[in-house]
Amino acid sequence: MTSGGKELAGIFLFVALVAGIPLATDSGVILNFVMMALYAALLAQAWNILGGFGGQFSFGHALFFGTGAYIQAIAQLQGGLNAWLALFMAVAGSAGVGALVGALSFRYGLKGSYFALVTLAFAEVFRILALSVPFTGAGVGLMLPLHESFANMQFGSRKGYVYLVLAFVAAALLLTWWLKHSRFGAYLQAVRDNEDAARAIGVNPFGVKLGAIVLSGGLMGAGGAFYVQVFQYIDPGIAYGPGTSVEALVAAIVGGMGTLWGPVLGALVLHVLADLTRNLFGQLPGINMVIYGMVLVLIVMFLPRGIAGLGATAKSLWKKSGGRRG
């Protein structure tokens, strides 16, 4: 089997294994953990497409998350649309916002820290807009009425949400797999590694980066729509605040940028770590966050390629030590 085939088989195996969890347990704690870890993996995978494969570090991915969340809520509350139809609108709308931000940023050649700052600024602008305009509910936010049914994409048990977010993560993994093996993906990685060299061989960096931000924005929008369906409430702080942006990029960086499994691993490890520290030190408020932060620093320091690159990091360390002995 080719490496691409093995990866594809891995994705199907992963989906099958995770899909089995709701069949094996009714534990709300386990199902909630799986749901939130998959949700974090979705956000991280969305960021990874632009940041990991495209090399465009965004600090404001909440922009797409919030847009997806608001479209999901507004389409149902004010448009009277079905939740599933709203989901398509949320994904398309946040992909559209991605296209807009990408067109403006890449047209003027913004990269590196400038691009990061622009995305951060866009998210903040949208947060302030959401606080000001009436159709977002301003500071009061929007709340979906509770009507549990499949048609409303509201499930009585966490199991329904696990399957929903698993479908999103599977789509994100397949998209990432396609990026790794497609011509477009090769162009994107070429632009990441050396934009001038890529242009010299005929790649259109603007179009490629624009494509990446549209894909990334669309996935992030799906994350926002999912959040609204689960928690049925959104306000400007939740939608466009920096928390979601940080959650998406930290999981991708810790797990391994530009890899297929890195964001999933990162999300899983961070969630296990957060839960462990909270359970062990829950009686001492704040201590869990200190330990969580310390472990995060250690991972970033000693695993520069992320968890997915653990093998490669170990191999290079082994070679280095062998070289010194030789």
Binding site: G139, L146, Y233, I238, R278
Partner: protein, 400 residues
Amino acid sequence: MSTRRHFMSQSAAAASAMAFPLVGGAQPRTIKVGVLHPVTGALAYSGQQCRVGALMAIEDINKAGGIKSMGGANIEALLGDAQSQPQAGAAEIEKMNEAGVSAVVGAFASAICLATTQAAAKYNLPHVVDVGVADQIMERGLKNTFRFGPGYRKCAEAAVANLHVLNMAAGKPARTVMIVHEESLFGTGTANLLARELPGYGYEVKEVIKHANPTRDFNNIVLRMKAVNPDIVIPANYYNEYALLVRTMQQQKISPKAIYSVLGGAASSYKFVKEFPDAANGIIDCNHWFNPKDKRSAELKKRVEAKGLFFSYEVFMTYTAMRLLADAIERAKSSDRAAIIDALEKSTFADHIMPYGATKFVNGQNTGAQPLMTQVVKNDIKVIIPREYRETDPVFPLRA
């Protein structure tokens, strides 16, 4: 040999017969109750104050003999941290449900309460909302959700009606209003209600300004206030921003006829009065407040202060919410969730320090819940309205 075996078996049986009641019958059972607050993150101070209130109530209930209808069963707190995020609050509910709690008290912030009450509803887990003032919490028809205190609609309506009473009694010196509020659910919701209600009483709302959380410089807002020159300034924000706004007004020598707060974060806070007595002097607030005529209020305040803490609204609101729950468990005679919900629905709990009278829940909201009007007078916070709880006469307007 046979005698020895017989003796041993007899002794073991006697010992087990003597020991069994200790572990089975005589030993009081414990009833697990979830205490869920945002003790880390942006709302950590308020969350920790809430936790103190809940734990003090549990300590008092257990010291007084526990749940008597269940053989003196003790209440055992299962602590949860919502980390100032709705999703973390909902995750804690899942854990508490599996740990077998009979009910939950929490979760301070409105946005968190929206998530936790809904998560608890899936398991028919009774959830007593301790503070969460957003009316949306109670408007979703969740059978498991009960709020002992008032929502912001009730507070805003009471504030406007009382302002009008004060103004009319003083000869209508105030006609214009400026509202300064924080940007989230609580501040915006309150400001919207005020802006809608005030014109009906003949007041002109000259400006509504919202600010971010946190805001560390109020100079521009206060400069605008100077230009607008309202008779009354109404702040609706959290402690830090409230304190900073009022201090900046003091620095820029802005002295309206009244600073009249609705659920003001610092207006009826002993911390603020102690730290900034000059800025706090004369401020009127419509807020959660205890019955000052009830001696138990002063005793509880003393105990909280003995711990080196301020007797803030978070403490007494959560303290009373926990006592309400204990009363329901007492009447339910069971730790069964459905029985507790039933007992809460029928609650007439009146043995408390809040000015609510006998409890009566309609769709989960305590209809007797009301805010009190307080004013900072001589470095202390005194109730001015309603008359039955009045400790001092109101000073309105502060300047002619």
